[in-house]
Structure formats: structure tokens, C-alpha cells
Symmetry: C2
Subunit: 83 residues, 2 copies
Amino acid sequence: MKKINLYITLKQGVLDPQGKAVQESLHTLGYTAVKQARVGKYMELIVEDDANVEQQIEEMCTKLLANPVIEDYTYIVEEGIVQ
Amino acid sequence: MKKINLYITLKQGVLDPQGKAVQESLHTLGYTAVKQARVGKYMELIVEDDANVEQQIEEMCTKLLANPVIEDYTYIVEEGIVQ
């Protein structure tokens, strides 16, 4: 099995209301050292060993998991996962 | 400035309906090699250089960013970020 750690973030320049809300809440709690907060998605996928897992990840991201217009994605593949 | 990469995931054993929905959607699209999907939050915080940034992160997580009952969090601090 392989484990895919997938990070989906908003593209630079895209408004991040959720991030803004987190930053303001942290300021309210007194953590004024926080200058910016951006919120994204983190996914862990367990997949069977497959020859073209990289190609499948790209397809899954563009078709479903990330919105290519406003989001970027990066991923790390961990080999030899025992499930 | 420092950049904190924060990963918030559901604890093992906690039901993950969002992950289940992602897995079933991927199966519907034909990606049956996906055996499990778990969805969490990924945050990027830009913070001023501060002596006790590690302690502040722990406090911010337990007070606001992560629910200690059902979520785990891990983070990586990147030094010397130019903003």
C-alpha cells in the first residue's frame, strides 16, 4: 500500500475569508504576532500499489479534490504502508 | 518572520464522514485503488519572530485551531520567511 499526503491551498492572491477569520480570532485571544493565516485542506489517501499512482493522483486532484481555478495542490507519496 | 505549517487531522478511530464521501466519490470516478481517505485541515501561519513561538502554537491549537477531543495536530516551523 502507499499513503498519499495531499495539501490543497488557495492560490496566492485568492481571498481567504476563513484565514482572515482565524487571524482575527487569534488576535482577539491575544496572539497578535500572527501576521497572516491561510487555511487549506490536508488529505491522507491510502492506495493500493499501482504502477501509475502519480498519474492517478493528478487526475483525482484535477477532477475532484482540488479546484484548479483557485487552488494549488502538492503531495508526498509514502511507500510500503501496512494497513 | 516565521512560517508555521500546521496539520490538523481527526484522531484514529474517530468517524470521518468527509473522508468517506471523498473515497466513495473517487470510487464512482473509477479510482477503486483508493482504500481509505481521511480529510483534515492544513494551515499556514506567518508569525513575527518571537522567543516562545512553540509555546504560542501549542496554546493557539488547544484554544482555537484544533479540537483536542477529536483532533490531533502537528506543525513544522520555517525560519527566516521574508513577507
